[in-house]
């Protein structure tokens, strides 16, 4: 399964891609509105603590967060597999809060794939259509079409236990897609696959979504995966939504320390004093262009420049290299400024890379500084 193969998928005429905006609008893709969703398990485990969220029609939307943050519960409520204790859920303009799962035009790709072991691949793919009462002939035609679409046409007569992990994943996807749901839910569908296959299927999944113009709601705990695939991301923690936004927004302008840490940022420093845009932290004094009102300063490692030796200037910090990790395309540095450490990532353009123990000057651009609240 190579890049060329995924390209072939995209060119396949079987399932018609979106032609233009008008065509997109005529599709079944639905928007989702959630209001005040609450869910508790047992007496005091709060899974969702009042979630309000709008997902646009045709969007690739990701619910991102650590395990136990409520993202899976939210997805299961969308699927109808859990009923919220309180709140409403509207899909495609229809209130479906109390509609049982088998009456919702929503399908799920499960983390474990949940392929029926007693059925062949073909019968698995046809299951939803059969339950909806589609005649056998139409069912078979659709199954053949979708199997061609995911390039597994030659596997349809196999038994499920004869498939590899990647093949199962595609069958699970196809089984949901063939029902042409208003919304497709994906519960960490790639987490069981190894890294190579995983990144390849990420691309495939993304292309499928763009071609079909279907609303995808994707759950993951992997922020890289979320950033690669999503139109928008919602970061969840403790049953609450922390931030909703496009990947760049969430990564570059996190609203709080939780989001920042979850997106992989380590360079967070409490602001001890501020005078206008002049911020004092344990690193020293720095000038920010648009600091905001937060009490934590975020410095992204890849925005830093390192100059050899001591160079005086505004937003110039003198540091010692504590550690250097050479990664080929780039290098990561642990810099020591007094008792404070600072991470820096420098692209390898073939220039001098400072050695451990070397004194360097860190140049911080005022426009890259962000403050946020704890």
């Amino acid at each position: 399964m190579s890049e060329t193969m995924t390209a072939e998928i995209a060119d396949h005429p079987g399932i018609r891609p979106v032609a233009d905006e008008q065509d997109r609008a005529s599709r079944k893709a639905s928007s989702i509105e959630m209001q005040g969703l609450h869910k508790r398990f047992g007496r005091d485990t709060v899974a969702l603590d009042g979630v309000d969220l709008d997902i646009r029609a045709g969007e690739f939307f990701t619910l991102l967060g650590p395990s136990g943050c409520g993202k899976t519960t939210l997805l299961r409520i969308l699927a109808g597999l859990e009923e919220p204790d309180d709140g409403t859920l509207v899909v495609g303009g229809k209130n479906v809060t109390e509609v049982p799962p088998h009456q919702r035009s929503v399908n799920t790709v499960f983390q474990s794939y949940a392929l029926f072991p007693h059925l062949s691949v073909r019968d698995n793919l046809a299951f939803g259509l059969k339950m909806r009462g589609l005649p056998a002939a139409e069912r078979n035609a659709k199954v053949d079409e979708i199997a061609e679409f995911i390039k597994l046409g030659d596997l349809v007569e196999r038994r499920v236990d004869q498939l590899s992990g990647g093949q199962r994943q595609r069958i699970a996807l196809a089984r949901a897609l063939v029902c042409e749901p208003d919304v497709l839910l994906l519960d960490e569908p790639l987490s069981a696959l190894d890294a190579g296959l995983r990144s390849q299927l990420q691309v495939e999944l993304l292309r499928v979504q763009k071609r079909l113009g279907m609303t995808f709601v994707f759950v993951t705990h992997d922020q890289d995966e979320a950033m690669v695939m999503s139109d928008r991301i919602a970061v969840l923690n403790g049953g609450n939504i922390q931030q909703v936004g496009a990947p760049r927004e969430v990564y570059e302008r996190p609203l709080n320390a939780f989001v920042a840490r979850f997106m992989g940022h380590d360079n967070l420093y409490p602001i001890s004093a501020r005078q206008g845009d002049r911020l004092t932290t344990s690193l020293g004094e720095l000038t920010a262009e648009d600091a905001g009102a937060g009490d934590l300063l975020l410095i992204r490692p890849e925005t830093l420049d390192l100059l050899p030796g001591e160079v005086a200037g505004d937003n110039h910090l003198t540091a010692t290299v504590g550690e250097r990790l050479y990664r080929g395309s780039h290098a990561e540095f642990r810099l020591e400024i007094g008792d404070t450490t600072l991470q820096a990532t420098v692209n390898n353009r073939g220039r001098h890379l400072p050695e451990v123990g070397e004194t360097v000057t860190v140049v911080v651009a005022p426009e890259d500084l962000v403050t946020l609240s704890e």
């Binding site: 699927a79 109808g80 597999l81 049982p100 799962p101 088998h102 009456q103 929503v106 399908n107 799920t108 499960f110 983390q111 474990s112 949940a114 392929l115 029926f116 072991p117 007693h118 059925l119 299951f127 939803g128 059969k130 339950m131 909806r132 236990d161 089984r175 949901a176 029902c179």
Partner: protein, 265 residues
Amino acid sequence: MRKRTLHRGLTAFWWLTLTFLYLPLAVVVLYSFNSANSSANFVSFSLRWYHRLLGNEAILSAFGNSLVLAISSSLIALVVGCVFGYGMYRHRHRKLGWLIVLIYLPIVLPDIVFGISEMAFFVQIHEWTGLLQPGLGTMIIAHVTFQIPFVALIVYSRFVGLDPTLFEAAKDLYATPVKRVVHFMLPTIKPALISAFFLSFTLSVDDFVISFFTAGPESATLPIYIWGAIKKGVSPEINAIAALMIAAVALAAILSLAFSRRRPT
């Protein structure tokens, strides 16, 4: 060196034990072909006891009773036990302590206590109401009682072995509750249901004590008939029926072996 001696010793012990296990059965089969009316020495080969069986109406009716009892009780237990096993699975996260006690009670209760308490109870109820006249009906009730737990536990363990998201996938793919049972649950647990039926059948045919105490005068099964014959004085005819029953078990063993070999992991 030492290890090899140990292994040889164990192998010898294994064959000795197998001899011990099969000798009584072999003797029964052997004497069923004995021309003489003796269990002490084998005179010559003959089928006379088998010929006699065919003419013995009591034996034929006992055979019929055994079959009716085993099949009908297994079918009832299959339905009730299967639903029970599913309930246990579906609510396994709740505290079901009393239910577990209830389901193990028929398994752990000594046969004799099982048999006499049912007999005493049935007799008393019969005296009061005229219902539960001892006979095939009471035997079926008794057999179902000890078959339900086995069916339920087999079905339960099959469900526990499944990926729980399969149930959700079925819901997600538009299956109504009834369709989930027909198109997902029953086909998925079919092997478990088949083996539960055969186990129930075997338990029923194998049982003597409980049948003995719940039977009526007309409802003797093969084991009850054999028991009576032994009590009256050993007749080689018994060897012939017993040999046939052993043959049936041997057949079942071969079938189960073939079945388990054929089934994929």
